[in-house]
C-alpha cells in the first residue's frame, strides 16, 4: 500500500473516531484533545488495526506517537512493511 493511500485511510480512521466522540472536524494533524486518555488511545488503535488489518504491538505503543497524523502514518507504514 502506498503512503498516500495510508494517509487517506488514517484520516478516515481519525474522522471515524472523532465522530464516536461527537468531535467531527477535529484537526487531523494534531489530535491531542481527541485522544484524551489511555482508554481513548486503545479505542483508536482498534479502529486503526481494523482499517489496515494489522496488530500494533507494545513497542509501537511505547513510542507515544499516536496524537499526530504523520507519526501514525509512519508507524502504520512501518508495520505494513514488516508484514
Amino acid at each position: 500500500m502506498d503512503k498516500q493511500t495510508i494517509e487517506q485511510k488514517v484520516e478516515i480512521v481519525i474522522e471515524e473516531f472523532a465522530s464516536t466522540k461527537g468531535m467531527e472536524g477535529v484537526n487531523p494533524i494534531n489530535f491531542d484533545e481527541l485522544i484524551a486518555n489511555s482508554l481513548d488511545l486503545m479505542r483508536f488503535l482498534v479502529l486503526l488495526e481494523e482499517q489496515f488489518d494489522i496488530y500494533i504491538s507494545q513497542e509501537y505503543l511505547l513510542m507515544n506517537e499516536f496524537s499526530n497524523k504523520q507519526t501514525v502514518v509512519d508507524i502504520v507504514s512501518s508495520i505494513m512493511n514488516k508484514n
Binding site: 482508554l39 488511545l41 504491538s57
Partner: protein, 383 residues
C-alpha cells in the same frame, strides 16, 4: 444437562491472551468445566441443555471475539522480588477460620487476634509514614453513588443488592405469625422491595464523594480506610475468594507526580516489611478483571499507563494477589470535582486484602506461630 465443547480459533497467539480469556470466562460463567489451548485452538468444555447449547456457544464466542479484538499484549514487569523464596508451602487447614455461609467466614480465637493485630499494624504503618487521616468505611453505599463511581460499567456481576420487606403491616404481621412461607427465596422476593443501598464492594469508594470536604476539614490528602467489602462471585467461592472480606487501604490525592511518589514510597515500605517478615512475594505490573464490551481495552489502558502494580505472595495455591498499588489518574477526581487551587487532582490507592495476607503467612510459615519469624511475631504482638 449435557457436556459440550466450543472450539474457538485464537488468531492472535499471545501467552497473556489465553490467561486473560481464562480469567474472563472463569469469572463470569458458572457452567464452564474446563478450558485448554491446543495448537491455537481454544477448547471450552461447558454444561448446558440441548436447546440452549448453541446459543451459549454463540454468546461465549462473541464475548471472546470482542475481547480478542481489543487485546494488547504487554510484558509483565516485575518491580520487586522478595529476598526469601519458598520451595514448599503448606496447605492451610485453619480450624479457627469457619465458613458460616458460602463465601462468608468467621474468625475465632487466635485467628481473630492475628487479624485484628495485623490490621492495626498496617493502619499504624500508613499513619506513621504517610501522615494520613483514619477513615472507617461503612458496609453500605448508596446505589446511585455506585453508578456515579462507574462500578456498574466495570464489575456489575459482583454487586450485592439489599432487599427489605414491603412496608405493609398486614404482611409483616403474617410473617411474624408464621402464616406466610418464607423458606423459599423466590417467594420472599414478592414480599420485598429493593433497597436504595447496596453492600459496598470497594472500601475507598466511600472516600471520593467526600474528598473535598475531608481534605478541607482535616488538612490531609492521605486517608487510611478500613472496612469490609462484598463481592458476589457466585460459584467461585473458596477460603481465598470470599463474598465478604476485609480491606485496609490508603487513598491519596495530589498532583500526578505526588501520587506516583507516594506509590513508590508505599512499595518501598511494604517491600522492606515483607522482607523482614521473611515472606516470599513479588510486585509486578497487572490489571483488574474488567467486564463488558470494552474489557480488553480497559485492561490494555491500565497496563499501558502502569495503573496497577499487584503484590502477590506464595502459598499452597501458588502466587496469590494480596494487594495492589493503583494510580487512578483523574477518573474519580473528575467525577467528584476534586480540586486544589483550581487544579484537578489525581488519586491513587494502595490496599491489602487481610484474609488473603493471613492465608499466605500461614501457608508460608505454618499455622503454629512458634515457628514464625521473630520480627513478625513482635509486630503482631504474638510474643
Amino acid at each position: 444437562m449435557d457436556t459440550y465443547i466450543l472450539k474457538y480459533e485464537l488468531k492472535k497467539r499471545y501467552e497473556g491472551l489465553y490467561r486473560e480469556i481464562e480469567k474472563l470466562i472463569g469469572f463470569y460463567y458458572d457452567n464452564i468445566l474446563s478450558m485448554e489451548l491446543v495448537d491455537g485452538m481454544l477448547n471450552v468444555t461447558f454444561t448446558a441443555n440441548e436447546e440452549n447449547q448453541e446459543q451459549f456457544k454463540h454468546d461465549i464466542g462473541s464475548e471472546i471475539d470482542k475481547f480478542v479484538k481489543g487485546y494488547k499484549e504487554f510484558d509483565t514487569d516485575i518491580m520487586v522480588e522478595s529476598k526469601q523464596k519458598k520451595e514448599v508451602c503448606s496447605e492451610v487447614n485453619d480450624l479457627n477460620y469457619i465458613e458460616v455461609a458460602n463465601g462468608v467466614r468467621c474468625k475465632v480465637g487466635q485467628r481473630a487476634v492475628i487479624e485484628d493485630n495485623l490490621s492495626n499494624f498496617i493502619i499504624q504503618l500508613f499513619e506513621n509514614n504517610m501522615s494520613s487521616c483514619r477513615f472507617i468505611a461503612p458496609s453500605m453505599i448508596d446505589y446511585k453513588m455506585l453508578i456515579k463511581l462507574g462500578y456498574f460499567t466495570k464489575f456489575p456481576n459482583l454487586v450485592n443488592f439489599i432487599k427489605n420487606f414491603k412496608k405493609d403491616p398486614t404482611l409483616i404481621r403474617k410473617i411474624s405469625k408464621g402464616e406466610l412461607n418464607i423458606e423459599s427465596p423466590e417467594i420472599v422476593d414478592s414480599y420485598t422491595d429493593l433497597s436504595k443501598k447496596v453492600l459496598n464492594p470497594v472500601t475507598c469508594y466511600q472516600v471520593y464523594p467526600l474528598a473535598n470536604q475531608l481534605i478541607q476539614s482535616t488538612g490531609k490528602s492521605n486517608f487510611t480506610v478500613t472496612g469490609n467489602v462484598y463481592r458476589f462471585e457466585s460459584y467461585n467461592m473458596s477460603s481465598t475468594r470470599l463474598n465478604e472480606f476485609k480491606i485496609i487501604e490508603q487513598v491519596h490525592f495530589g498532583t500526578k507526580e505526588e501520587v506516583i511518589q507516594i506509590r513508590n514510597k508505599e512499595i518501598e515500605l511494604f517491600t522492606n516489611l515483607f522482607n523482614e517478615w521473611e515472606l516470599d512475594f513479588k510486585i509486578e505490573t497487572s490489571s483488574d478483571v474488567f467486564y463488558g464490551d470494552e474489557a480488553a481495552l480497559l485492561i490494555s489502558a491500565q497496563k499501558y499507563e502502569n495503573g496497577k502494580f499487584e503484590i502477590s505472595m506464595n502459598s499452597d495455591k501458588g502466587y496469590m494477589s494480596v494487594g495492589s498499588f493503583n494510580l487512578h489518574n483523574q477518573y474519580f477526581t473528575e467525577r467528584f470535582h476534586i480540586y486544589k487551587e483550581n487544579e484537578l487532582l489525581t488519586s491513587g490507592c494502595c490496599g491489602f486484602g487481610i484474609e488473603r495476607l493471613i492465608y499466605c503467612i500461614f501457608s508460608q510459615h505454618g499455622e503454629d506461630i512458634k515457628h514464625w519469624p521473630e520480627k513478625l511475631k513482635k509486630d503482631l504482638f504474638l510474643i
